[in-house]
């Protein structure tokens, strides 16, 4: 009997449940897709490094899944509470008929069970299809070739999804039982009879609050963009964040009063068609949902920033690599370790002896045939004078810099390279070469923040002293260039001096830059294997030789980019779904009040077209307000992300913003449309 009743209830109120179902299915599908990545990638043809990164990524994703399941859990509880509220009258009738609360709980239990099973089933089905698309995406991200397409169903992800969602549904059931046992019959029956009291805010107060909020917001925007340099320590970022949150809240608090005041003052507009009705509907809704609007707006803001930044990291990483790692391998070793240093760090004799050998000699001791494997070899020597520190090269600008950037290490000695050796490297990399007079120096750098600081010192014509001789800057700004290969712009500055300016007493490090002697990818991969295998050679413990290769940089940075992208996508989509679903439910929960209002308008003779337009406007404005504010926030937020992620480059931002916009339109827009059509259905006269 109860079973039949539950079934009938679900079928009858299927339209009311549309949003709930949609959200559950989407949640299940996404949960499955991101947890199935590991199984999806098993068949991909990738190197060991990439495989490691994928494993790391799936581990992180499953960690994030716990967080995601928390968010989804809250969302489901919220949604089911909303559905129960809608059915207060129905439960009231059951209770007056003499049904016990226990039996009502049983009905709800069966309903939740049914909805759970259906949504899990459908969600897993959709997830399984989507995850095939996902494996294409993964293959594309890791630049692996999908040799053959096979349909994969991940059993482990399926079990995990079932487990997590079963727990969530169980909690929902417990909440439902508590809810039912708490409610009173009189409240259930009288629920629909409550007339709304219109709480009006003082318009002048609203205008004042709004202005204050705008000022706060502008200050916060200023802090994270133009004045971003002043955020020198991590804790200072909290001030603009808190200001941003408070001002968002205040804007939503004052917004409805403000708009009402403005539109009301334009009588011709306010008393045209249903404008007065629409405006009052919206303002009363915004008034009662200030906090949720704020949370939704902030969630959308985070979503937009996370999505666009994480997508751009991957894009710009790949784009930068050609420029940042122009050769196949760079070997580096510290030279001429002094006795004191050896004692300080506890190096053994063999280690010290090796440090006096050039790289080529160490390589031959490792049985690595340089002439067989390498070509285009260039050797660079780095010199260091303990007295010539960053502080000295900044000269008179040091005192000012120290105030704004206190966390820089100013007592670190500068690295110095002779102009002839640098030119060799530059020629190999295809960079600009330089000539120097006897008393000139140049700084080569590609790390933007450091370039800014150094440029100011160079503009002031700051001299440096080396072995008793003084040198002056040839250019008033840093020159673009690099020596060590890496995945990011991290060259904070190398000083280039005339060949005569240094001698062997200052020698600190040596670097050997070269290409592999191979004509194709397979040949290069084979040599890479040989290099990796050097780590197993017995002599390796006696040398401080280090190698970084283009291939490994490439794989790890592509992997890092992909990892960030996937986690960003995962969280972004879940955030997006949550905020859109909350908005949709809020809107639908008022539909019962709206039935009467729209019925009345119909009796007054308002045309259907006008009614639908009014409903559309009402829902549209309710959806668009948090989005607009979130987009404005994001313009500045992304600007700040760019600053933080500077080393990654931001060349591909437009592409990722477009991607983010597509996600927003599809998910958020989808929820908007469902809400509109459900509401239209509810208010339709029958």
């Amino acid at each position: 009997m109860l079973f039949k009743l539950s079934l009938k209830n679900i079928r009858k109120s299927f339209k009311d449940y549309a949003i709930y179902f949609f959200t559950l299915i989407l949640g299940v599908a996404i949960f499955y897709v991101f947890n199935a990545i590991e199984s999806q990638t098993v068949l991909l043809n990738v190197t060991a490094t990439t495989r490691d990164i994928i494993t790391l990524m799936t581990n992180m994703l499953s960690g994030v899944s716990v967080f995601v399941s928390l968010i989804l859990g809250f969302l489901i509880i919220y949604a089911s509470r909303f559905l129960i509220k809608r059915r207060n009258k129905e439960f009231g009738i059951y209770l007056t008929l003499g049904m016990s609360k226990r039996k009502i709980s049983t009905i709800l239990f069966i309903e939740t069970l049914f909805i759970g099973i259906i949504s899990l089933f459908v969600g897993l089905f959709i997830g399984a299809i989507l995850s095939q698309v996902m494996s294409l995406l993964v293959a594309n991200m890791f630049e692996a070739d999908m040799t053959k397409f096979t349909f994969i169903f991940s059993k482990s992800a399926c079990i995990k999804t079932l487990l997590y969602f079963s727990i969530m549904y169980l909690i929902v059931m417990i909440f439902n039982v508590i809810n039912i046992s708490r409610c009173k019959l009189i409240d259930l029956i009288n629920h629909s009879k409550k007339t709304e009291k219109v709480k009006l805010k003082n318009p002048i107060l609203c205008i004042m609050i709004f202005i204050i909020a705008i000022i706060m917001l502008v200050y916060a925007y200023y802090k994270v963009t133009i004045d971003v340099e002043s955020l020198s320590t991590p804790d200072k970022i909290f001030i603009p964040i808190i200001l941003g949150c408070i001002s968002t809240l205040l804007i939503f608090w004052s917004l409805s009063g403000l708009i009402l005041k403005i539109v009301k003052s334009i009588k011709g507009l306010y008393y045209r068609g249903l404008n007065s009705f629409i405006l009052k509907q919206i303002s009363s809704k915004i008034n009662t949902t200030v906090v949720s609007m704020t949370i939704i707006c902030l969630m959308l803001f985070v979503t937009i920033c996370v999505l666009s930044s994480s997508l751009s990291i991957k894009n710009s990483m790949s784009a930068n690599l050609e420029e940042l790692a122009p050769v196949d391998i760079a070997l580096t070793k510290t030279r001429n370790i002094t006795a004191e240093k050896a004692q300080e760090y506890g190096y053994n004799t063999a280690y010290i002896e090796d440090s006096f050998l050039p790289i080529a000699d160490s390589l031959s001791k490792l049985d690595f045939d340089v002439s067989k494997y390498l070509k285009d070899m260039v050797t660079v020597h780095y010199y260091v004078d303990e007295a010539l520190t960053v502080e000295k090269t900044l000269g008179s600008y040091y005192e000012e810099t120290k105030k704004t950037l206190p966390f820089l290490t100013y007592n670190m000695p500068e690295e110095i390279v002779t102009v002839s050796e640098y030119n060799e490297v530059a020629k190999l990399y295809g960079n600009e070469t330089f000539t120097l007079d006897e008393d000139e120096y140049i700084i080569i750098a590609d790390y933007d923040s450091m370039i800014e600081v150094r440029n100011e010192a160079l503009k002031r014509n700051t001299p440096i002293t080396l072995l008793g001789k003084t040198y002056y800057p040839k250019y008033s700004e840093c020159q673009n260039g690099l020596i060590a290969i890496s995945s990011n712009h991290i060259n904070a500055g190398i000083i280039i001096v005339p060949d005569s300016a240094v001698d062997d007493s200052l020698l600190e490090r040596e670097s050997l830059i070269a290409n592999y002697k191979a004509s194709d990818d397979t040949g290069r991969k084979n040599i890479e294997e040989v290099v990796i295998n050097l780590a197993n050679h017995p002599y390796i413990s006696s040398t401080n030789l280090e190698a970084s290769t283009k291939l490994s940089i490439y794989e790890s940075s592509v992997g890092l980019g992909a990892m960030v992208t996937f986690i960003g996508l995962y969280l972004g989509i879940i955030f997006l779904i949550s905020s859109a679903a909350i908005l949709a439910l809020k809107e639908l929960s008022e539909s019962t009040d709206n039935i009467d209002r729209y019925k009345m308008l119909r009796k007054l003779g308002v045309e259907e077209r006008m009614l639908n337009k009014a409903l559309f406007m009402q829902i549209f404005i309710f959806f668009i307000f948090p989005l607009i504010l979130a987009i404005i926030h994001s313009i500045f937020g992304i600007e700040f992300c760019k600053f933080i992620l500077e080393t990654f480059g931001d060349e591909e931002m437009t592409k990722s913003i477009t991607m983010t916009a597509i996600f927003l339109v599809v998910i958020y827009g989808g929820y908007f449309l469902i809400t509109y059509y459900s509401s239209k259905n509810i208010i339709r006269n029958r």
């Binding site: 007339t195 219109v198 011709g268 068609g273 209002r597 077209r609």
Partner: protein, 254 residues
Amino acid sequence: MNILKIDKIEKYYGNKSSLTKAIDNISFSVDKGEFVAIMGASGSGKTTLLNSISTIDKVTSGHIYVEGEDITKLKGNELNAFRRDKLGFIFQDFNLLDTLTAYENIALSLSIKNVNYKEIDERIKKVAEELSIKHVLKKYPYQMSGGERQRVAAARAIITNPSIILADEPTGALDSKSSKMLLEKFNYLNQELDATILMVTHDAFTASYASRVIFIKDGKIFNEIIRGNDTRKAFFDKIIDVVTLLGGDLNDAL
């Protein structure tokens, strides 16, 4: 001239096996400037009759003419346009929008006809004066008394200059003092502004304000009495006589 002409209408509910005739062959007409009350017990078919005239419900057979136009032939948006332009509604439960002030509620019925604000404002001021609701124009429905709410609803109904005002148990939710005041306003609208009013009620006191009373029983017209030159008190006694004749049901309503 006939404002409203009802021609042999019938309304059936249910299916072939159990047929209920809510309206069983009713015909009558209402002239311009008349104040007609329709009386009947619960279930006599009076609300169905009103709903048919207001196009909220459709008749099974027969025709209803408003100013010569057959409204049973109207469809879709024509219905809405008809209600908007020709009818004024007053309901038992007021049916004011709770989010709007009295002023905005009255303005709405003009603004949906695209009347400009200047004219809206002038007409509201005039009608508010006539119905003594000037002091509540800025208030919300929940801040007003029942009588004030019903007069605001009356103002909303009259302001569009409709062909006919339909009132469904307008005093049903009012105390006797408010009822009396509202009905006096109805008389004023009827006599001074020449408004045509069709009112459904089961209350003899309310009906006694009308110029003609039509009694309905089991979906048919049972009797019809005209006030003529009687005083309201004398007319009330006549109504009571018919009610007694009608039998038990209506007596409860006294």
